[in-house]
Symmetry: C2
Subunit: 277 residues, 2 copies
Protein backbone atom coordinates (compact mmCIF):
# COMPACT_ATOMS: atom_id res chain seq x y z
CA UNK A 1 0.00 0.00 0.00
CA UNK A 2 1.21 3.49 -0.89
CA UNK A 3 2.18 5.83 1.93
CA UNK A 4 -0.09 8.76 2.62
CA UNK A 5 0.58 11.79 0.41
CA UNK A 6 0.70 15.29 1.87
CA UNK A 7 -0.18 17.76 -0.88
CA UNK A 8 1.00 21.31 -0.21
CA UNK A 9 -1.33 23.09 -2.58
CA UNK A 10 -0.50 26.39 -4.29
CA UNK A 11 -2.34 27.82 -7.31
CA UNK A 12 -3.16 26.38 -10.71
CA UNK A 13 -4.60 23.01 -11.59
CA UNK A 14 -1.82 20.66 -10.46
CA UNK A 15 -3.04 20.29 -6.83
CA UNK A 16 -6.48 19.25 -8.10
CA UNK A 17 -4.93 16.73 -10.46
CA UNK A 18 -2.92 15.26 -7.59
CA UNK A 19 -6.12 14.90 -5.55
CA UNK A 20 -7.79 13.12 -8.46
CA UNK A 21 -4.76 10.85 -8.97
CA UNK A 22 -4.88 9.86 -5.27
CA UNK A 23 -8.62 9.19 -5.42
CA UNK A 24 -8.27 7.11 -8.59
CA UNK A 25 -5.43 5.00 -7.19
CA UNK A 26 -6.97 4.76 -3.70
CA UNK A 27 -3.95 6.43 -2.14
CA UNK A 28 -4.64 8.21 1.16
CA UNK A 29 -3.86 11.92 1.14
CA UNK A 30 -4.07 15.14 3.08
CA UNK A 31 -4.12 18.63 1.55
CA UNK A 32 -2.33 21.54 3.17
CA UNK A 33 -3.86 24.39 1.17
CA UNK A 34 -2.29 27.85 0.93
CA UNK A 35 -4.90 30.59 1.35
CA UNK A 36 -5.21 32.91 -1.63
CA UNK A 37 -3.61 30.35 -3.95
CA UNK A 38 -5.18 26.87 -3.76
CA UNK A 39 -8.53 26.36 -5.51
CA UNK A 40 -11.07 24.93 -3.05
CA UNK A 41 -13.29 23.47 -5.77
CA UNK A 42 -10.37 21.49 -7.21
CA UNK A 43 -9.48 20.05 -3.82
CA UNK A 44 -13.08 19.12 -3.15
CA UNK A 45 -15.13 19.52 0.03
CA UNK A 46 -14.71 15.85 1.00
CA UNK A 47 -10.91 15.83 0.85
CA UNK A 48 -9.07 15.88 4.18
CA UNK A 49 -7.61 19.37 4.24
CA UNK A 50 -6.27 22.23 6.29
CA UNK A 51 -5.99 25.82 5.08
CA UNK A 52 -3.13 28.05 6.24
CA UNK A 53 -1.71 31.46 5.52
CA UNK A 54 1.73 31.29 3.93
CA UNK A 55 3.27 32.54 7.18
CA UNK A 56 1.84 29.63 9.20
CA UNK A 57 4.57 27.05 8.56
CA UNK A 58 4.42 25.89 12.18
CA UNK A 59 0.68 25.22 12.00
CA UNK A 60 1.12 23.52 8.64
CA UNK A 61 3.91 21.19 9.71
CA UNK A 62 1.99 20.32 12.89
CA UNK A 63 -1.12 19.52 10.84
CA UNK A 64 0.86 17.20 8.58
CA UNK A 65 2.62 15.53 11.53
CA UNK A 66 -0.61 15.04 13.49
CA UNK A 67 -2.09 13.38 10.43
CA UNK A 68 0.67 10.74 10.39
CA UNK A 69 3.72 9.93 8.30
CA UNK A 70 3.59 11.41 4.81
CA UNK A 71 5.33 11.71 1.55
CA UNK A 72 5.10 15.42 0.72
CA UNK A 73 4.57 16.99 -2.68
CA UNK A 74 4.51 20.76 -3.29
CA UNK A 75 2.46 21.73 -6.32
CA UNK A 76 1.29 24.96 -7.87
CA UNK A 77 2.74 28.46 -7.80
CA UNK A 78 2.80 30.51 -4.62
CA UNK A 79 3.32 34.25 -4.80
CA UNK A 80 6.38 35.10 -2.74
CA UNK A 81 5.29 37.31 0.13
CA UNK A 82 7.06 40.33 1.50
CA UNK A 83 8.24 40.19 5.08
CA UNK A 84 5.34 42.41 6.10
CA UNK A 85 2.77 40.29 4.25
CA UNK A 86 4.14 37.23 5.95
CA UNK A 87 2.85 37.74 9.53
CA UNK A 88 4.93 34.71 10.49
CA UNK A 89 4.02 32.29 13.27
CA UNK A 90 6.80 31.40 15.71
CA UNK A 91 8.14 28.52 13.65
CA UNK A 92 8.08 30.55 10.43
CA UNK A 93 9.87 33.42 12.15
CA UNK A 94 12.58 31.05 13.43
CA UNK A 95 12.90 29.61 9.93
CA UNK A 96 13.43 33.06 8.39
CA UNK A 97 15.66 34.22 11.22
CA UNK A 98 18.01 31.38 10.26
CA UNK A 99 17.77 32.13 6.54
CA UNK A 100 17.84 35.92 6.55
CA UNK A 101 15.27 37.97 4.66
CA UNK A 102 17.16 37.70 1.38
CA UNK A 103 15.87 34.15 1.04
CA UNK A 104 12.43 35.55 0.24
CA UNK A 105 13.58 36.31 -3.28
CA UNK A 106 15.32 33.01 -3.75
CA UNK A 107 14.93 29.40 -4.58
CA UNK A 108 16.95 28.96 -1.44
CA UNK A 109 13.58 29.57 0.26
CA UNK A 110 12.16 26.44 -1.33
CA UNK A 111 15.35 24.52 -0.67
CA UNK A 112 15.26 25.52 2.97
CA UNK A 113 11.58 24.60 3.24
CA UNK A 114 12.33 21.19 1.74
CA UNK A 115 15.18 20.67 4.22
CA UNK A 116 12.88 21.73 7.06
CA UNK A 117 10.24 19.16 6.04
CA UNK A 118 12.86 16.44 5.69
CA UNK A 119 14.26 17.25 9.12
CA UNK A 120 10.74 16.55 10.40
CA UNK A 121 10.94 13.06 8.89
CA UNK A 122 8.82 13.70 5.80
CA UNK A 123 9.99 12.52 2.39
CA UNK A 124 9.66 15.27 -0.25
CA UNK A 125 8.89 13.95 -3.74
CA UNK A 126 8.51 15.65 -7.12
CA UNK A 127 5.06 16.01 -8.63
CA UNK A 128 6.19 14.02 -11.68
CA UNK A 129 6.66 10.91 -9.51
CA UNK A 130 2.86 10.90 -9.07
CA UNK A 131 1.60 12.39 -12.35
CA UNK A 132 3.64 10.53 -14.94
CA UNK A 133 2.89 12.38 -18.16
CA UNK A 134 4.12 15.81 -17.08
CA UNK A 135 7.76 15.94 -18.22
CA UNK A 136 8.41 16.70 -21.90
CA UNK A 137 10.94 14.65 -23.84
CA UNK A 138 13.55 16.30 -26.10
CA UNK A 139 12.48 17.21 -29.63
CA UNK A 140 9.25 18.38 -31.25
CA UNK A 141 6.17 17.64 -29.14
CA UNK A 142 3.61 18.71 -31.73
CA UNK A 143 3.39 18.93 -35.47
CA UNK A 144 5.73 21.87 -36.10
CA UNK A 145 9.47 22.42 -35.76
CA UNK A 146 11.45 25.67 -35.50
CA UNK A 147 13.19 27.01 -38.61
CA UNK A 148 16.72 28.46 -38.62
CA UNK A 149 15.60 31.81 -37.24
CA UNK A 150 13.56 30.04 -34.56
CA UNK A 151 16.55 27.91 -33.56
CA UNK A 152 18.80 30.99 -33.37
CA UNK A 153 16.24 32.75 -31.15
CA UNK A 154 15.99 29.66 -28.93
CA UNK A 155 19.79 29.58 -28.54
CA UNK A 156 19.92 33.27 -27.55
CA UNK A 157 17.01 32.83 -25.12
CA UNK A 158 18.64 29.76 -23.57
CA UNK A 159 21.84 31.72 -22.88
CA UNK A 160 19.92 34.55 -21.20
CA UNK A 161 17.54 32.22 -19.36
CA UNK A 162 20.41 30.21 -17.90
CA UNK A 163 22.23 33.31 -16.66
CA UNK A 164 19.09 34.79 -15.13
CA UNK A 165 18.17 31.42 -13.65
CA UNK A 166 21.64 31.00 -12.14
CA UNK A 167 20.94 34.25 -10.25
CA UNK A 168 17.65 32.79 -9.09
CA UNK A 169 15.54 35.45 -10.81
CA UNK A 170 13.20 33.81 -13.34
CA UNK A 171 12.70 30.84 -15.63
CA UNK A 172 11.45 32.42 -18.86
CA UNK A 173 12.79 34.63 -21.66
CA UNK A 174 11.25 35.84 -24.93
CA UNK A 175 13.49 36.51 -27.95
CA UNK A 176 12.47 37.72 -31.41
CA UNK A 177 14.99 37.98 -34.28
CA UNK A 178 17.86 38.01 -31.78
CA UNK A 179 16.30 40.79 -29.68
CA UNK A 180 15.52 39.94 -26.06
CA UNK A 181 11.95 41.27 -25.79
CA UNK A 182 11.47 40.29 -22.17
CA UNK A 183 13.02 38.61 -19.14
CA UNK A 184 10.79 37.10 -16.48
CA UNK A 185 11.29 38.12 -12.86
CA UNK A 186 8.54 37.98 -10.22
CA UNK A 187 5.68 38.85 -12.60
CA UNK A 188 5.29 35.35 -14.05
CA UNK A 189 5.09 34.06 -17.60
CA UNK A 190 1.57 35.28 -18.40
CA UNK A 191 2.50 38.88 -17.59
CA UNK A 192 5.77 38.48 -19.52
CA UNK A 193 3.89 37.30 -22.61
CA UNK A 194 1.29 40.01 -22.27
CA UNK A 195 3.88 42.80 -22.36
CA UNK A 196 5.86 41.17 -25.16
CA UNK A 197 2.76 41.53 -27.36
CA UNK A 198 3.33 45.29 -27.28
CA UNK A 199 7.08 45.00 -27.86
CA UNK A 200 7.11 42.74 -30.89
CA UNK A 201 8.83 43.80 -34.08
CA UNK A 202 7.52 43.32 -37.60
CA UNK A 203 8.53 40.09 -39.32
CA UNK A 204 8.93 36.54 -37.98
CA UNK A 205 7.62 36.22 -34.43
CA UNK A 206 9.70 35.27 -31.43
CA UNK A 207 10.01 32.32 -29.09
CA UNK A 208 9.32 31.68 -25.43
CA UNK A 209 11.95 29.58 -23.65
CA UNK A 210 11.34 28.18 -20.15
CA UNK A 211 14.18 26.44 -18.34
CA UNK A 212 14.73 24.96 -14.92
CA UNK A 213 17.24 27.07 -12.98
CA UNK A 214 20.64 25.31 -12.99
CA UNK A 215 20.86 25.07 -9.20
CA UNK A 216 17.22 24.50 -8.31
CA UNK A 217 15.86 21.47 -6.47
CA UNK A 218 14.04 19.56 -9.19
CA UNK A 219 11.38 18.37 -6.78
CA UNK A 220 9.85 21.83 -6.45
CA UNK A 221 8.86 24.75 -8.65
CA UNK A 222 9.69 23.25 -12.05
CA UNK A 223 8.94 25.62 -14.95
CA UNK A 224 5.39 24.93 -16.10
CA UNK A 225 3.34 25.51 -19.22
CA UNK A 226 -0.18 24.53 -20.22
CA UNK A 227 -2.83 25.27 -22.85
CA UNK A 228 -3.20 28.86 -21.58
CA UNK A 229 0.54 29.48 -22.02
CA UNK A 230 0.16 28.45 -25.67
CA UNK A 231 -2.84 30.78 -26.09
CA UNK A 232 -0.91 33.67 -24.52
CA UNK A 233 2.19 32.99 -26.62
CA UNK A 234 0.08 33.02 -29.78
CA UNK A 235 -1.62 36.25 -28.70
CA UNK A 236 1.83 37.79 -28.19
CA UNK A 237 2.74 36.97 -31.78
CA UNK A 238 5.24 34.23 -30.93
CA UNK A 239 5.96 31.38 -33.29
CA UNK A 240 6.84 28.77 -30.73
CA UNK A 241 7.76 27.58 -27.26
CA UNK A 242 10.79 25.61 -26.07
CA UNK A 243 10.69 23.94 -22.65
CA UNK A 244 13.33 22.11 -20.66
CA UNK A 245 13.11 18.41 -21.53
CA UNK A 246 12.78 16.29 -18.40
CA UNK A 247 12.90 19.34 -16.12
CA UNK A 248 9.69 21.20 -16.79
CA UNK A 249 6.02 20.40 -16.46
CA UNK A 250 3.39 20.40 -19.18
CA UNK A 251 0.00 20.60 -17.50
CA UNK A 252 -2.60 18.76 -19.60
CA UNK A 253 -0.17 17.66 -22.26
CA UNK A 254 -2.70 16.53 -24.92
CA UNK A 255 -4.60 19.84 -24.77
CA UNK A 256 -1.37 21.85 -24.73
CA UNK A 257 -0.02 20.13 -27.84
CA UNK A 258 -3.40 20.34 -29.58
CA UNK A 259 -3.57 24.12 -28.98
CA UNK A 260 0.00 24.57 -30.27
CA UNK A 261 -0.82 22.60 -33.43
CA UNK A 262 -4.11 24.45 -33.94
CA UNK A 263 -2.53 27.88 -33.47
CA UNK A 264 0.50 27.09 -35.62
CA UNK A 265 3.13 27.26 -32.87
CA UNK A 266 6.02 24.86 -32.53
CA UNK A 267 6.43 23.24 -29.13
CA UNK A 268 9.77 21.56 -28.46
CA UNK A 269 11.60 19.96 -25.57
CA UNK A 270 15.16 21.24 -25.36
CA UNK A 271 17.74 18.56 -24.63
CA UNK A 272 20.85 18.87 -22.51
CA UNK A 273 22.92 20.01 -25.49
CA UNK A 274 20.96 23.14 -26.32
CA UNK A 275 20.47 23.97 -22.67
CA UNK A 276 24.16 23.57 -21.84
CA UNK A 277 26.23 26.76 -21.51
Amino acid sequence: MLSKLGIIAGGGELPGRLVRACRESGRPFFVLAIEGHAIAADIGPDSPQRWIRIGEAGTGIRALRDDGKHDIVMAGPVRRPSLSDLRPDWRTARFFARLGFRALGDDSLLKALTAELEAEGFRVVGVETILHDLLPEPGPLGRLTPDEQGRADIARAVAVCRAVGALDVGQAVVVQQGIVLGVEAIEGTDALLSRCAGLRRAGPGGVLVKLCKPQQDRRVDLPTIGPQTVENAAAAGLRGIAVHAGRSIIVDRPATIARADALGLFLVGIGAEEAAP
Copy 2:
Protein backbone atom coordinates in the same frame (compact mmCIF):
# COMPACT_ATOMS: atom_id res chain seq x y z
CA MET B 1 38.83 76.36 -33.08
CA LEU B 2 36.84 73.29 -32.25
CA SER B 3 36.27 70.77 -35.02
CA LYS B 4 32.78 70.45 -36.42
CA LEU B 5 30.48 68.18 -34.40
CA GLY B 6 28.23 65.65 -36.11
CA ILE B 7 25.28 64.94 -33.82
CA ILE B 8 23.52 61.64 -34.56
CA ALA B 9 20.22 62.43 -32.88
CA GLY B 10 17.94 59.81 -31.33
CA GLY B 11 15.11 60.52 -28.90
CA GLY B 12 15.00 62.43 -25.61
CA GLU B 13 16.42 65.80 -24.75
CA LEU B 14 20.16 65.16 -25.08
CA PRO B 15 20.41 65.97 -28.82
CA GLY B 16 18.75 69.34 -28.21
CA ARG B 17 21.15 70.07 -25.35
CA LEU B 18 24.08 69.26 -27.64
CA VAL B 19 22.74 71.69 -30.26
CA ARG B 20 22.42 74.41 -27.58
CA ALA B 21 25.93 73.68 -26.28
CA CYS B 22 27.33 74.06 -29.81
CA ARG B 23 25.44 77.32 -30.37
CA GLU B 24 26.59 78.73 -27.03
CA SER B 25 30.24 77.88 -27.63
CA GLY B 26 30.12 78.87 -31.31
CA ARG B 27 31.12 75.34 -32.36
CA PRO B 28 30.01 74.37 -35.88
CA PHE B 29 27.73 71.34 -36.00
CA PHE B 30 25.56 69.16 -38.25
CA VAL B 31 22.62 67.06 -37.08
CA LEU B 32 21.90 63.65 -38.56
CA ALA B 33 18.41 63.11 -37.17
CA ILE B 34 16.77 59.67 -36.92
CA GLU B 35 13.15 59.78 -38.10
CA GLY B 36 10.64 58.77 -35.46
CA HIS B 37 13.11 59.50 -32.66
CA ALA B 38 14.74 62.95 -32.87
CA ILE B 39 12.65 65.96 -31.79
CA ALA B 40 12.59 68.55 -34.58
CA ALA B 41 11.75 71.44 -32.26
CA ASP B 42 14.79 70.71 -30.07
CA ILE B 43 17.10 70.64 -33.07
CA GLY B 44 15.64 73.89 -34.37
CA PRO B 45 14.69 74.85 -37.94
CA ASP B 46 17.89 76.85 -38.47
CA SER B 47 20.28 74.06 -37.55
CA PRO B 48 22.07 72.31 -40.43
CA GLN B 49 20.40 68.92 -40.47
CA ARG B 50 19.53 65.84 -42.46
CA TRP B 51 16.77 63.38 -41.54
CA ILE B 52 17.17 59.67 -42.28
CA ARG B 53 15.38 56.43 -41.61
CA ILE B 54 17.35 54.11 -39.33
CA GLY B 55 18.06 51.83 -42.30
CA GLU B 56 19.74 54.62 -44.30
CA ALA B 57 23.26 54.33 -42.90
CA GLY B 58 24.75 54.86 -46.36
CA THR B 59 22.85 58.11 -46.89
CA GLY B 60 23.73 59.23 -43.37
CA ILE B 61 27.45 58.57 -43.65
CA ARG B 62 27.52 60.29 -47.06
CA ALA B 63 25.74 63.34 -45.63
CA LEU B 64 28.27 63.60 -42.80
CA ARG B 65 31.21 63.10 -45.16
CA ASP B 66 29.96 65.65 -47.70
CA ASP B 67 29.63 68.15 -44.87
CA GLY B 68 33.33 67.85 -44.02
CA LYS B 69 35.45 66.28 -41.29
CA HIS B 70 33.55 65.75 -38.05
CA ASP B 71 33.78 64.58 -34.53
CA ILE B 72 30.70 62.40 -34.11
CA VAL B 73 28.51 62.07 -31.03
CA MET B 74 25.55 59.67 -30.80
CA ALA B 75 22.90 60.87 -28.36
CA GLY B 76 19.44 59.76 -27.36
CA PRO B 77 17.77 56.36 -27.43
CA VAL B 78 16.90 54.66 -30.72
CA ARG B 79 14.42 51.82 -30.75
CA ARG B 80 16.14 48.77 -32.18
CA PRO B 81 14.38 47.85 -35.41
CA SER B 82 13.52 44.41 -36.65
CA LEU B 83 15.08 43.29 -39.89
CA SER B 84 11.78 43.90 -41.70
CA ASP B 85 11.36 47.40 -40.20
CA LEU B 86 14.86 48.23 -41.32
CA ARG B 87 14.38 48.47 -45.13
CA PRO B 88 18.15 48.84 -45.38
CA ASP B 89 19.92 50.85 -48.07
CA TRP B 90 22.82 49.12 -49.79
CA ARG B 91 25.42 50.22 -47.27
CA THR B 92 23.22 49.24 -44.30
CA ALA B 93 22.56 45.84 -45.86
CA ARG B 94 26.30 45.24 -46.33
CA PHE B 95 26.90 46.31 -42.74
CA PHE B 96 24.35 43.80 -41.42
CA ALA B 97 25.47 41.09 -43.82
CA ARG B 98 28.88 41.30 -42.17
CA LEU B 99 27.45 41.34 -38.66
CA GLY B 100 24.68 38.79 -39.00
CA PHE B 101 21.15 39.53 -37.88
CA ARG B 102 21.88 38.63 -34.25
CA ALA B 103 23.64 41.97 -33.88
CA LEU B 104 20.26 43.68 -33.93
CA GLY B 105 19.70 42.66 -30.33
CA ASP B 106 23.16 43.58 -29.22
CA ASP B 107 25.45 46.36 -28.17
CA SER B 108 27.67 44.84 -30.79
CA LEU B 109 25.44 46.79 -33.19
CA LEU B 110 26.56 50.06 -31.65
CA LYS B 111 30.15 48.88 -31.48
CA ALA B 112 30.08 47.94 -35.14
CA LEU B 113 28.47 51.26 -36.06
CA THR B 114 31.19 53.10 -34.14
CA ALA B 115 33.89 51.08 -35.92
CA GLU B 116 32.22 51.84 -39.28
CA LEU B 117 32.25 55.58 -38.58
CA GLU B 118 35.88 55.46 -37.45
CA ALA B 119 36.84 53.55 -40.59
CA GLU B 120 35.41 56.52 -42.50
CA GLY B 121 37.82 58.82 -40.68
CA PHE B 122 35.37 60.26 -38.15
CA ARG B 123 36.31 60.48 -34.49
CA VAL B 124 33.51 59.18 -32.22
CA VAL B 125 33.31 60.94 -28.87
CA GLY B 126 31.12 60.43 -25.79
CA VAL B 127 28.36 62.92 -25.04
CA GLU B 128 29.96 63.66 -21.66
CA THR B 129 32.99 65.16 -23.40
CA ILE B 130 30.69 67.95 -24.60
CA LEU B 131 28.13 68.22 -21.79
CA HIS B 132 30.28 68.17 -18.69
CA ASP B 133 27.76 67.87 -15.89
CA LEU B 134 26.22 64.55 -16.97
CA LEU B 135 28.20 61.88 -15.12
CA PRO B 136 27.32 61.25 -11.46
CA GLU B 137 30.06 60.89 -8.88
CA PRO B 138 30.05 58.07 -6.29
CA GLY B 139 27.99 58.58 -3.14
CA PRO B 140 24.73 60.34 -2.30
CA LEU B 141 23.73 62.92 -4.93
CA GLY B 142 20.78 64.34 -3.01
CA ARG B 143 19.72 64.73 0.57
CA LEU B 144 18.91 61.09 1.40
CA THR B 145 20.96 57.92 1.78
CA PRO B 146 19.86 54.26 1.63
CA ASP B 147 19.38 52.37 4.90
CA GLU B 148 20.55 48.79 5.48
CA GLN B 149 17.62 47.26 3.60
CA GLY B 150 18.17 49.70 0.74
CA ARG B 151 21.85 48.81 0.56
CA ALA B 152 21.05 45.07 0.55
CA ASP B 153 18.54 45.60 -2.27
CA ILE B 154 21.12 47.63 -4.22
CA ALA B 155 23.68 44.82 -3.83
CA ARG B 156 21.22 42.20 -5.11
CA ALA B 157 20.17 44.42 -8.02
CA VAL B 158 23.81 45.10 -8.93
CA ALA B 159 24.52 41.35 -9.13
CA VAL B 160 21.53 40.74 -11.42
CA CYS B 161 22.11 43.88 -13.49
CA ARG B 162 25.73 42.96 -14.14
CA ALA B 163 24.83 39.44 -15.27
CA VAL B 164 22.02 40.64 -17.52
CA GLY B 165 24.24 43.43 -18.85
CA ALA B 166 27.08 40.99 -19.58
CA LEU B 167 24.60 39.18 -21.86
CA ASP B 168 23.80 42.49 -23.51
CA VAL B 169 20.14 42.45 -22.50
CA GLY B 170 19.35 45.50 -20.36
CA GLN B 171 20.78 48.07 -17.96
CA ALA B 172 18.17 48.24 -15.21
CA VAL B 173 16.83 46.03 -12.41
CA VAL B 174 14.29 46.66 -9.62
CA VAL B 175 14.63 44.83 -6.29
CA GLN B 176 12.40 45.12 -3.22
CA GLN B 177 13.24 43.34 0.05
CA GLY B 178 15.54 40.94 -1.79
CA ILE B 179 12.92 40.07 -4.42
CA VAL B 180 13.75 40.89 -8.04
CA LEU B 181 10.53 42.63 -9.13
CA GLY B 182 11.67 43.29 -12.67
CA VAL B 183 14.51 42.99 -15.16
CA GLU B 184 14.74 45.42 -18.08
CA ALA B 185 15.01 44.03 -21.59
CA ILE B 186 13.90 45.94 -24.69
CA GLU B 187 10.94 47.69 -23.01
CA GLY B 188 13.00 50.42 -21.38
CA THR B 189 13.13 51.76 -17.84
CA ASP B 190 9.82 53.64 -17.89
CA ALA B 191 7.89 50.47 -18.79
CA LEU B 192 9.90 48.49 -16.22
CA LEU B 193 8.97 50.95 -13.48
CA SER B 194 5.36 51.05 -14.57
CA ARG B 195 4.92 47.29 -14.22
CA CYS B 196 6.84 47.16 -10.94
CA ALA B 197 4.16 49.42 -9.45
CA GLY B 198 1.75 46.50 -9.73
CA LEU B 199 4.25 43.95 -8.39
CA ARG B 200 5.35 45.73 -5.25
CA ARG B 201 5.02 44.02 -1.89
CA ALA B 202 3.84 45.65 1.33
CA GLY B 203 6.54 47.19 3.48
CA PRO B 204 9.69 49.13 2.60
CA GLY B 205 9.80 49.99 -1.11
CA GLY B 206 12.43 48.80 -3.55
CA VAL B 207 15.30 50.30 -5.49
CA LEU B 208 16.07 50.91 -9.16
CA VAL B 209 19.64 50.19 -10.19
CA LYS B 210 20.99 51.25 -13.60
CA LEU B 211 24.46 50.14 -14.64
CA CYS B 212 26.60 50.39 -17.73
CA LYS B 213 27.02 46.94 -19.30
CA PRO B 214 30.50 45.59 -18.47
CA GLN B 215 31.55 45.22 -22.09
CA GLN B 216 29.83 48.23 -23.64
CA ASP B 217 31.55 51.08 -25.45
CA ARG B 218 31.29 53.96 -22.99
CA ARG B 219 30.96 56.50 -25.77
CA VAL B 220 27.47 55.31 -26.71
CA ASP B 221 24.25 54.30 -25.01
CA LEU B 222 25.19 55.01 -21.39
CA PRO B 223 22.39 54.26 -18.92
CA THR B 224 20.41 57.45 -18.46
CA ILE B 225 18.03 58.88 -15.88
CA GLY B 226 16.32 62.23 -15.52
CA PRO B 227 13.55 63.96 -13.55
CA GLN B 228 10.90 61.74 -15.17
CA THR B 229 12.74 58.59 -14.05
CA VAL B 230 12.55 59.89 -10.47
CA GLU B 231 8.81 60.61 -10.86
CA ASN B 232 8.21 57.12 -12.25
CA ALA B 233 10.27 55.46 -9.53
CA ALA B 234 8.28 57.30 -6.87
CA ALA B 235 5.00 56.32 -8.55
CA ALA B 236 6.18 52.68 -8.50
CA GLY B 237 6.67 52.88 -4.73
CA LEU B 238 10.46 52.76 -4.82
CA ARG B 239 12.58 54.33 -2.12
CA GLY B 240 15.59 55.17 -4.23
CA ILE B 241 17.74 54.96 -7.32
CA ALA B 242 21.37 53.92 -7.71
CA VAL B 243 23.24 54.78 -10.91
CA HIS B 244 26.66 53.86 -12.15
CA ALA B 245 29.11 56.56 -11.03
CA GLY B 246 31.10 57.92 -13.97
CA ARG B 247 29.36 55.59 -16.42
CA SER B 248 25.78 56.80 -16.59
CA ILE B 249 24.11 60.05 -17.57
CA ILE B 250 21.88 62.24 -15.46
CA VAL B 251 19.91 64.47 -17.79
CA ASP B 252 19.18 67.82 -16.10
CA ARG B 253 21.02 66.99 -12.91
CA PRO B 254 19.72 69.87 -10.73
CA ALA B 255 16.08 69.08 -11.55
CA THR B 256 16.66 65.34 -11.10
CA ILE B 257 18.18 65.76 -7.65
CA ALA B 258 15.52 68.29 -6.65
CA ARG B 259 12.72 65.85 -7.61
CA ALA B 260 14.40 63.02 -5.67
CA ASP B 261 14.72 65.23 -2.58
CA ALA B 262 11.15 66.50 -2.91
CA LEU B 263 9.70 63.00 -3.35
CA GLY B 264 11.81 61.46 -0.57
CA LEU B 265 13.91 59.14 -2.75
CA PHE B 266 17.61 58.55 -2.27
CA LEU B 267 19.74 59.01 -5.38
CA VAL B 268 23.25 57.58 -5.22
CA GLY B 269 26.17 57.02 -7.53
CA ILE B 270 27.55 53.52 -7.13
CA GLY B 271 31.34 53.33 -7.08
CA ALA B 272 33.49 50.61 -8.54
CA GLU B 273 33.43 48.58 -5.33
CA GLU B 274 29.66 48.04 -5.19
CA ALA B 275 29.43 47.53 -8.92
CA ALA B 276 32.28 45.00 -8.95
CA PRO B 277 31.34 41.30 -9.12
